[in-house]
């Protein structure tokens, strides 16, 4: 079986680079050739830098053989970053006009780690403005399209990162997850998305949205790549006071260790009204696969699930209204022209710089925190948040992990939900509870709809059980053998696919221009 360099996973690419079957320069050139072909249709990126990536590749290629081993865990591997992660060599815009030309004076902690481990940062990916959204349509610059069907959204808010990994225009990517923004786009694009335990990855240099919920995590072609990325970015950082004081674990090394006596819970509240029938069937298939590999599956209850979304839409906007107060047109970012006094300068810069969804959430959060409403909204939500967390604590006394759908529906069409914010919010109904409780959760592909759209299954574990969660995901992935047979169709294949109409046969990978290698 031949695989082009850009099709390879990070682990595969790393082996090819270490054995010198290809140079880092060849990897980057092949990838950017592929990006040139695919990116005009998909629009996953807000910034790309071929020249700098090549310069970095040449540095790695020029290392003497004795230093190659120490070139880092990701030496020569191309990585894309969501554009809310600070980089000194690319603008960091959060897909917002208010930060359009902002170039941070420092690198995020995760960026420092990536550079230290030899990763080549190729570009910054599109997102919903300030990570507020579930479709990447809230980007101030352009929408991103789902590689599986260009008429559809890739999910969000890390839609650019998920689309790039799905289309092989990035080997590995980072996203951020406040209410599902890594897992939901991963599910809709047929890739793996992992939200680690709150505090497992430092947020130093992640532009803050809702600080009690935000977490950085990998979007990857498979679970092994997600584990590899976690080894690089996990661990303590004193610059984030919520950072867990534990070093990163050898997630990748231990990934295939056998799981003994695994107890899996299936929460009945996640399989009710609003769940697409094909999504439900594919997730049930994944649950049967877990049974086949020896897991004991039992039904559980998370009774406050139906209140999680409401809780989130008070807490997240409340925190956002405070975090986004810093965009004032004074220190950096957009400034409105011709303002005679300072308050007008603040109010007009913010009104002209922020998009509608960001304004909506700032207003909602400000209202929920304002005098006379704080108890009814914020405090009420904080109490219900406790009940949601208690549900999980209770469940984890009976089971080791919880399996459920990631998103109730597959990718929807561009524009389908933009007019009704609440409908868009409902997309996150199954991902939000893990953020409220601060626990790790992963989405991995588990099937395709009849019309060829990916479906994701979510596995949730208790706090700090990230390593075992990744092992469960890896065992399930192996049993379902998704990759490398399921790939998004190329444009000409997509047209054929539509002519073939409703076959459930996944489109196989066609010939491409990239450089081929024997696997």
């Amino acid at each position: 079986m031949t695989t082009t360099l850009h099709e390879m996973t990070a682990v595969e690419l790393r082996n090819v680079l270490r054995s010198r079957k290809a140079s880092a320069r060849e990897v980057i050139e092949d990838l950017f050739d592929w990006i040139e072909r695919r990116e005009p249709d998909i629009g996953a990126y807000l910034a790309l830098d071929r020249e700098r990536a090549l310069a970095r590749a040449d540095e790695i290629d020029s290392l003497p053989p004795s230093e190659r081993e120490s070139a880092g865990a990701l030496a020569g591997v191309p990585v894309a970053l969501k554009d809310n992660i600070c980089t000194t060599d690319f603008p960091t815009t959060c897909a917002s006009r208010i930060l359009q030309n902002f170039v941070p004076p420092y690198d995020a902690h995760v960026v420092e780690r990536l550079r230290r481990e030899g990763a080549i940062i190729i570009g910054k990916t599109n997102m919903d403005e300030f990570a507020m959204g579930s479709s990447t349509e809230n980007s101030a610059f352009h929408p991103t399209r789902n590689p599986w069907d260009l008429e559809r959204i890739p999910g969000g808010s890390s839609g650019g990162s998920a689309a790039a990994v799905a289309a092989d225009t990035a080997t590995l990517a980072l996203g951020s997850d406040t209410g599902g923004s890594i897992r939901q786009p991963a599910a809709l694009c047929g890739v793996v998305g992992f939200k680690p335990t709150y505090g497992r990855v430092s947020r130093y240099g992640l532009v803050a949205f809702a600080s009690s919920l935000d977490q950085i995590g990998p979007i990857a072609k498979d679970v092994s790549d997600a584990a590899l990325m976690m080894e690089v970015i996990g661990g303590h950082d004193s610059r984030d006071s919520t950072s867990v004081t534990m070093p990163a674990e050898p997630y990748l090394r231990d990934l295939d260790r056998p799981l003994d006596a695994l107890r899996v819970g299936v929460p009945r509240e996640y399989f009710g009204e609003g769940l697409d029938a094909e999504v439900g069937a594919a997730v049930m298939n994944a649950i049967r696969a877990l049974s086949r590999i020896g897991a004991e599956v039992r039904e559980i209850s998370l009774p406050h699930t139906e209140y999680a979304l409401s809780t989130y839409y008070i807490i997240a906007p409340a925190e956002a209204s405070s975090n986004l107060a810093r965009y004032d047109g004074v220190h950096y970012g957009y400034r409105a022209a011709n303002c005679d006094d300072i308050v007008t300068l603040f109010a007009r810069s913010r009104a002209e710089g922020f998009g509608d969804e960001v304004k909506r959430r700032i207003l909602l959060g400000t209202y929920a925190l304002s005098a006379g409403y704080y108890d009814a909204y914020y405090l009420k939500a904080a109490r219900v948040r406790r009940l949601v967390k208690n549900d999980f604590d209770e469940a984890f006394r009976q089971v080791d992990c919880i399996v459920c759908p990631t998103s109730p529906v597959p990718a929807f069409r561009l524009g389908e939900r933009t007019a009704h914010p609440l409908e868009m919010y409902l997309t996150d109904v199954f991902t939000i509870p893990a953020n409220l409780a601060g626990i790790p959760a992963i989405s991995l592909p588990c099937g395709l709809t009849r019309s060829g759209l990916p479906i994701g299954v979510q596995i949730i574990a208790q706090a700090l059980d990230d390593a075992r969660l990744l092992r469960v995901a890896r065992a399930l992935e192996r049993e379902m053998s998704w990759r490398p047979t399921h790939r998004p169709p190329l444009p000409q294949q997509a047209q054929e696919g539509r002519r073939r109409s409703a076959t459930s046969e996944p489109a196989s990978r066609g010939p491409c221009n990239g450089r081929s290698l024997q696997r």
């Binding site: 709150y198 009690s212 409401s310 970012g333 304002s370 406790r386 009704h420 706090a463």
Partner: protein
């Protein structure tokens, strides 16, 4: 649990957002729908439930108060919309 245009205007003022009448009206409608949905929380009796503001709870993280280099002025000013003499420049604040 609808929200009036005046209440939205008050929140916009607190949040320093200069919004048109048209935007305020649209926001009132959309936020009203969201608040109606959120009203679901009132079904729950939460008396006696301790609020959770942060997963795992928060504790103070202390460090020694020792001076170390910080962002140089020219770096801090690099993204400023307007600057003068090493300061951020804004419209006159005091008459």
């Amino acid at each position: 649990m609808a929200i009036s245009k005046e209440q939205v205007a008050h929140a916009a003022d607190l949040a320093r957002l200069d919004l048109s009448e048209e935007t305020l009206a649209k926001m009132a409608t959309q936020l009203g729908q969201v608040l109606d949905y959120i009203g679901k929380l009132n079904e729950l009796d939460t008396s006696g439930v301790e609020p959770l503001s942060h997963p795992g709870g928060l504790s103070n993280v202390m460090r020694d108060d020792s001076p170390s280099p910080s962002l140089p002025t020219n770096e801090a000013l690099r993204n400023a919309p307007e600057q003068q003499d090493g300061f951020f420049r804004v419209p006159r604040v005091i008459e």
